[in-house]
């Protein structure tokens, strides 16, 4: 549909921009928080821009935090020197100065990103601060590597296995095929809690708990949703092509590999992308099956931005979140045409 009149175009643009603003807004807040220093992340009332305050205490000009309005002197603020000392023993200098004496600058803290990645998963920034053993070697790149491993292997498995299985449902007429297909669809309705604990038992029996295998090996054995998608797509490929190949003496495998698969690039792209996007952010699986930090994935490592008092280091969490989702956003942006067309050509029509 293409809007014909200028008015229609205008309305469409207005709706698009309006909707985009609403949808983008929390994300902008996420990015804004990632650039703030710790004490400004959760300030009430909320502020958008990260600020830096400078004032003179005891004759020394330094960066300070603006804590609270001085109780008995209107127009005056209690400020404290920044950065706060790391040990309990030291007492940071503070003073009460008038609002006019505090210089305010807008200063985004880009180094939040560096620190967020360096301390991801609860890691100490430098081993000098007392990391022991395996803990010290686990970095952002470890998490990235684990996540990529799981995602890429999972994609290979998903495409490979589901194509084979969907081929059998779509192109070969065998006894019991349709019953099996209905059963397959029924498995989509099984809620995860039903599977959760026995699956854990299966992996425990296999000895895979604590490794990454429970996260990617099941992809090599098919999944109902992908089987459904690919089967629908294969059914749109004319039977005459396979017939002709069969007459030429091609084996079933040959037809699959040589004819059907090359024509299925759109749906392969869809399955690959869906699986990659899902596996990248999957959180429940790693939560259940991974025990050692050096096996954690990015989604799980995001959990561990905790600080004293059980609070969350928002600025680091948001910074890490931005880093974690950028690859997917880029991936989606570049592949959306293939994505959407691929789903379209499966004709989710039952």
């Amino acid at each position: 549909m293409s809007p014909k009149s200028k008015l229609a175009r205008l309305i469409v643009y207005a709706l698009l921009f309006g909707g985009a603003a609403i949808f983008l807004f929390p994300f902008l807040w996420l990015v804004a928080t990632s650039l703030k220093p710790a004490e400004q992340t959760m300030s009430l009332p909320p502020t958008w821009l990260p600020r830096a305050y400078y004032a003179t205490i005891d004759g020394k000009r330094m960066e300070v935090t603006r804590d609270y309005p001085a109780p008995d002197r209107p127009g005056y603020w209690h400020i404290t020197e920044k950065p706060a000392p790391k040990t309990l023993a030291g007492k940071p200098t503070s003073a009460i100065v008038s609002a006019a004496e505090i210089e305010t600058k807008i200063q985004p803290r880009w180094d939040n990103y560096h620190t967020a990645l360096a301390t991801m998963g609860g890691r100490r920034p430098t081993s000098a601060e007392g990391a022991v053993g395996v803990d010290a070697q686990v970095t952002f790149f470890t998490f990235l590597r684990n996540t990529l491993l799981v995602c890429v292997l999972g994609v290979i498995g998903a495409v490979f296995s589901n194509a084979l299985i969907a081929y059998s449902f779509a192109k070969i007429r065998w006894r019991g095929r349709d019953t099996m297909f209905v059963l397959t669809l029924a498995t989509m309705m099984v809620p995860f809690p039903v599977l959760m604990v026995p699956l854990y038992g299966v992996f425990k029996w296999l000895g895979w708990i604590g490794s990454l295998r429970p996260l990617w090996v099941p992809a090599f054995f098919g999944s109902a949703f992908n089987i459904f998608l690919m089967r629908q797509f294969f059914r749109t490929i004319p039977e005459e092509l396979s017939e002709a190949a069969r007459i030429d003496g091609c084996s079933e495998w040959g037809i699959f590999w040589r004819i059907i698969l090359p024509l299925s690039k759109p749906v392969i792209a869809v399955v690959a992308l869906f699986h990659f996007l899902w596996a990248w952010n999957d959180f429940l699986g790693p939560l259940l099956y991974l025990t050692r930090r050096h096996t954690f994935t990015l989604a799980l490592a995001l959990q561990d931005y905790q600080s004293q008092g059980g609070g969350v280091q928002w600025h680091y969490l948001m910074a890490a979140t931005v880093v974690v989702i950028i690859p997917i956003v880029v991936l989606f942006f570049l592949t959306q045409k293939t994505f959407i067309k691929g789903i379209a050509t499966t004709g989710i029509k039952g």
Partner: protein, 529 residues
């Protein structure tokens, strides 16, 4: 087949072989190996992060340096209890795990921890004798903390760090309201009266801008309010949340605070409270003048509002005779069942349970005192070293030490379903303070629910002990490398310790070696493994 297709098919076959190889090699990727020296490496999972984790890390390093047989690998994890649960169920638990107290009781009920009694008995007594009894070993702690280590007649854990609560009051706000800043409220009536004086409203809109006290700020100890009023949560093995009249009084008092100020007012005002660990904390930012908080509060005051004038004291008396009431809590170190190095884990727990009581300088602090000093908490040991006593970062640590010795210091009830009980009381507290239910309704509901859960839980435990009697005792006889044989079965379900009163009945003596013993219909020979 035409040549072209044959070539392609064989090429495809090659591709398939490669894919299969990837799959197989992926399955065979070896896991990381541990250290290659001949020291025993044990894993220790702990729930802390930030400076609290740093404190324990330093203490762990001190332990590692102090001897050359055991190396502890410290791992700081979130939701450590759930991870430990899954790991223990999966047969691959850490050697030491830092749990919350209620985890220890529910894990112990399910046979998921190793009791420490045999390790303790292998220790020499303080006077140099051969075998310590658990009572002797636990005597190092203040009674209220010692009591938390035992459950159903056994010692299940050692302490990592304790905490103690007190009424914190803002002296500057007292002064501004015309109250004596050095005199906190001593009774419940005084608390209410002082709160009234410290409450301010905006003259134009009538909105609340400052409160003297609000029961829900914080709501961390709301479960203990009934105990504060002299009520009981558990009496023997009966649930008494709904039957004890003091509990009703307590919740009526909670309700009265919302009614006094108006539900909408309180809701609007409290939704403006910032995070606990921020300068906008209600107490730190002067929105609430008095609150019950723990010994760790000083750390946050120092960080977010240094120089704040405040005081600490015991909870005001709410029930006649119940003076110096306070709530104690602690984190515990336990050894999960199936841990690979329980002996070495015990060595570490032993280290954390002791201290250098002659320390005169900071670098002489050791074990428990080092951790508590760095975390700014009180030490649960009865004796303190001179340096700890005099140079502790908390200005009022002496008050907390006194409170730990109070005869009316309570801890949470030691029961396997405490987590659920706590959730129910928290929900009940919310319902009452939001005026969604009357105190009677809420208490009756809670009573019914928890009684059902409690009887279900006890039935479940009975079921298991009778089930064990009908099965070979293989699991029950799986012992650790400990001299003497102890039966890791369930204790008598009726041996519950009433909450709050120090009572350490310990009945398990080791069986004499070499004797034939009849246990529940099976004959076994006690021998050292």
């Amino acid at each position: 087949m035409p040549v072209g297709i044959r070539k392609i098919v064989s090429a495809n076959r090659r591709i398939c072989c490669v894919l299969a190889l990837i799959l197989v090699s992926g399955l065979l990727v070896p896991t990381l190996l541990s250290g290659a020296d001949d020291k025993v490496h044990i894993t220790y999972w702990e729930k802390w992060s930030g400076f609290e984790a740093d404190a324990m890390r330093r203490t762990v390093e001190q332990f590692n340096r102090s001897q050359n047989k055991v190396v502890v690998e410290f791992l700081s994890l979130s939701s450590v209890d759930r991870k430990a649960l899954i790991a223990t169920a999966g047969g691959d638990p850490p050697d030491v795990v830092g749990l919350w107290a209620y985890n220890v009781y529910s894990f112990a009920d399910r046979d998921a921890l190793q009791p420490l009694d045999d390790f303790i008995r292998a220790e020499p007594t303080p006077s140099g004798g051969q075998a310590s009894t658990p009572e002797q070993w636990l005597a190092r702690y203040e009674p209220v903390y010692a009591d938390m280590c035992t459950y159903r007649g056994r010692v299940w854990a050692g302490l990592s760090t304790p905490s103690m609560t007190a009424l914190h009051w803002n002296k500057a706000m007292f002064r501004a309201a015309g109250l004596d800043p050095e005199r906190p409220p001593r009774t419940l009536a005084e608390l209410d009266a002082f709160a009234e004086k410290l409450t301010k409203r905006d003259p134009k809109t009538g909105e609340v801008v400052q409160l003297g006290f609000l029961p829900q700020e914080p709501n961390w100890f709301a479960w203990a309010y009934p105990l504060w009023f002299g009520g009981q949560l558990l009496d023997g093995d009966k649930i008494t949340i709904g039957t004890d009249p003091h509990n009703l009084q307590c919740y009526q008092w909670v309700e009265s605070y919302t009614r006094k100020y108006g539900l909408d007012q309180v809701r609007a005002f409290s939704s403006g409270f910032g995070n606990f660990a921020s300068p906008q904390n209600a107490f730190l930012s002067g929105k609430v003048a008095m609150e019950f908080q723990g010994v760790y509060m000083n750390n946050f005051i120092r960080q977010f509002r240094p120089g704040m004038e405040y005081g600490v004291t015991a909870w005001p008396t709410a029930a006649p005779g119940l003076d110096d009431f306070t709530v104690a809590d602690t984190d515990l170190l336990a050894i999960p069942r199936g841990a690979k190095h329980p002996r070495e884990a015990w060595e570490f727990i032993k280290f954390i349970s002791s201290a250098n009581l002659n320390a005169q300088r900071e670098d002489e602090l050791s074990g428990m005192e080092l951790v508590c000093y760095l975390q700014g908490k009180n030490s649960p040991l009865r004796q303190w070293s001179p340096f700890f006593e005099q140079h502790h970062p908390h200005p009022y640590i002496g008050v907390f030490r006194q409170l730990a010795r109070s005869p009316h210091a309570v801890h949470l009830p030691k029961m396997g379903i405490w987590q659920e009980y706590r959730r129910e009381t928290d929900t009940m507290f919310d319902a009452v303070r939001l005026l969604a239910e009357s105190p009677e309704q809420a208490l009756a509901f809670c009573q019914r629910r928890i009684s059902e859960s409690w009887s279900w839980h006890r039935k479940s435990l009975e079921r298991r002990s009778s089930d064990i009697a009908n099965r070979p005792l293989t699991r029950a006889l799986q012992t650790t490398a400990v001299p003497g044989l102890s039966l890791m079965g369930r204790g008598n379900p009726d041996e519950l310790t009433p909450n709050g009163k120090p009572n350490v009945p310990l009945t398990n003596a080791p069986l004499p070696l070499g004797e034939r013993v009849r246990v529940r219909g099976h004959e076994i020979i006690a021998k050292s493994p």
